[in-house]
């Protein structure tokens, strides 16, 4: 079957045998995007996070058939070194993350959450990140980075 999708403001049409193919594999293997990442395939960690119509979704369990004509944003679509998204800049300023394999989860979640709640409290931020995993223990720098945005607003 042919599948059309919109990723980072570009349209793609690809041929797929299985309409249940998770979006993650389409993005990585068909569109050759290096982000998001595979972490668990079970919606338990966030490494595969993308924005679907602006909302964070775990692409490892999202069948391509359920995506329809929604606008998908991956890390690549968030910003560039020339024009960074404020969340990207905040994480760079804090030198957040170690291995960084988890960062799609935190960055995409933060981008969506801070947009909705620009003055979120630290307690709200902690709740908003519940369920995301970081194995290297970057949590303090992640919080500091996002608080740069919420405490400045």
């Amino acid at each position: 079957m042919m599948v059309s999708l919109r990723v980072n403001d570009q349209s793609f049409t690809i041929e797929l045998d299985d309409r249940d193919t998770p979006l993650l594999y389409v993005l990585r293997d068909e569109l050759k995007l290096n982000n998001p990442h595979f972490g668990c395939g079970l919606a338990q960690c966030g490494a595969c996070m993308v924005l679907v119509d602006g909302a964070p979704r775990r692409s490892c369990v999202l069948p391509i058939s359920a995506v329809g004509d929604s606008a998908i944003t991956t890390l690549d679509g968030l910003g560039t070194p020339q024009k960074p998204h404020p969340v990207q800049q905040a994480f760079i300023d804090e030198q957040a993350f170690f291995c960084g394999y988890c960062l799609n989860g935190w960055v995409m979640t933060a981008a969506a959450f801070v947009k909705k709640h620009p003055r979120a409290t630290e307690a709200q931020l902690r709740e908003s990140f519940a369920g995301l995993k970081c194995r290297c223990g970057s949590h303090m720098s992640i919080l500091r980075a996002v608080k740069r945005l919420t405490e400045r607003a």
């Binding site: 030198q95 957040a96 291995c99 931020l125 519940a130 970057s138 303090m140 919080l143």
Partner: protein, 762 residues
Amino acid sequence: MTHPYPSSFTLSRRQALLAGGALVVAYLAAASDMDEGANGAESKPALTPPQLDSWIAVRPDGSVVGYFGKVDIGLGIQVAVAQIIADELDVGFEQVSIVMGDTAATINQGGASGSTGLELGSVPLRNAAAQARSILLGLAAQKLGNPVESLEVTNGVVSVRGAIARRISYGELIGGRYFDVRLKWNGKIGNELIVAGSAPLKDHAQYRVVGKSLRRADIADKLFGREVYSTDVRVPGMLHGRMIRPPIAGAVPVTVDRTALSHLPEVQLVWRQGLLGVVAAKEWDAVKAARNLRVEWSSPAAAFPPQEALYEAIEAAAAVAHGGAEPVGDTAAALAGARKILSAAYHWPFQSHASMGPACALADVQADHATIWTGDQKPHYIRDGVAALLELPPENVRGIWLRGPGSYGRNDGGDAALDAAYLSKAVGKPVRVQGMRADGTAWDPKGPASVHHVCAGIDASGQVVALRFQSKAFSRENIASHPDDPTQSLSGQLMAMPVKTKHAFDVPEEGYDFANRDLGWEVVPALLDRASPLRTSHLRDPLGPQLNFASESFIDELAFAIRTDPVAFRLRYLKDPRSIAVIEAVAEQAKWTPRPTRGAARAGEVLTGRGIAFARRKHTRVAVIVEVEVHRHSGRIWPRRWTVAHDCGLIVNPDNLRLVIEGNILHATSRALFEEVRFDEHRVTSVDWVTYPILDMRDAPEKIDIVLIDHKDDLPLGAGEPATRPVAAAIANAVFDATGMRLRQAPLSAGRMKAAFLRGAE
């Protein structure tokens, strides 16, 4: 004019080297020789440890490349290495880039290993940089016609002091060409490898770049999606593989029925003895094929005890090895004569690396050579392991490391590399293998479970006169921490290669100076000797958390037994000035108030308390104080505020060091509070993040206050793991302060805390 570097000697050496392979061996074995000239060779000399060009290159534009034979697994060590090179070579930090992890471009320095990246790993680069600077000054002296003593260097430009117009840059002197100079080499490979030149090293007081908080370029690359991880490599014709592991530990496939795969195009099955994998053109097809393949497995007997009987099983097992520190005094006699005996036992579970993503490797195996792309932290040993599996000479295998999906020791990376190599050879195409979640959690090598019996004798005056510390545990390395031997891999063991295992454990390193002391260990056999999901190997700070949990919890128990403040107690029995200094520093920073006895039982839902723990890891000393909240109803323990005093010798990059310490505290808090590999008699049942929970953002502390103690006269001593070590004991000690209850079994889970409340105070 002074020109201390005659170059004629080098040519004859080089000619000898080129004369033949047999000579190369003899040449490398002559470790004490070195050359002092610079030839400016046009082509790069062979990659051997003594060659200066194996470590440092100067490009025509004057930029410098450092070839680091370890890798960065996330802590940013490449920045510190570049800082050290910049200072020793007198170039700007921005001029230095670091190449690491490609076996075709770097020497085997042991990979990421034991927090030795700076302490050992930076040494050859520092020495090479100093030698390169000396050679370049010699060349500049020739060109400028001024003696070396009259020259100075700024950002890689050599000029005559007082005559700034008389100058020449490193790039002009040698850029794009090669030194072709031999250094002295100690003949070792791996962590212990040292090369050195004759040039004096700078005194640390002369450093300008070392000590600065320079930033990591890779962080921005990662944020902008420009970092290419090992999971992101794609080569033409690449296929995707997935492994199928036994559903029962020790089982092997009896029949494999692929009819369920008939609708999946072009899926290939690779099956040899216990090793089973599928290969498909599309990754999702490989995932489905691995899931749907119908396999009839053998039915081996139960390999494991029920989990609740694990520690009894360790106690009951006959030890296969024992060891320990040299005893001091006569502990048995001192205990027999003591007025009071205090004893306790502590338990630590199996823990998983559970790296952020399951390991991934891509192998392209050809008839007589192979390339392996890996995220494993020891790529040179991966090369050796793949070569051995494929029966190729190591020089015919190239290992290319790229950042992997997390690495904290011997995780699933080594197994993934050998799996990929085997599948690629079997199907004759490049094959990329990434595990599914269970491969990273249920099937990685585990940190060993252990029991620790500790006993002390106290005399009539309240002095501690003897301490016995005895661990009984699984070996630290059922499989080797280096992935260089297929017998030490899942694929090798599943294909019936002979099993070899190392029996070793360790003792606490803190160094309390009790008059009589006996620190020892016994190792028990692996529960299943082949392809066990509970096989052990190195996990971040191998054995440190469990040994320190027992020993530093017990130190607190001892302090309270003689009604002494736990800070004062430690200061009384530690003799090492730097150990004392970190404890004093942390107590001052945390405004510790003496608590020779625990306060009266407190009422209320939320109890708070403070605890201290100290750790020494080789030469690094760390002391931590933590304030915890304990929730009576739920049993939740929240380490809310940490204070850390940290002495790792010379500090190369303070801000990055602070981040590294934070990461240690968080990772170790996760292990202390949440992590325990679950299993039943047939299998590991921790297969994902639900069945192997880790720390969540809601459990992150409010604040980590870090005091760095800098020793500018020392070497950088290692920081990648030491702050992990005291975390569990500090929490347990704080929980005791808060509740009067002593938790002696890790993890200090809400369930255990709640059960302790229900049992009532001890």
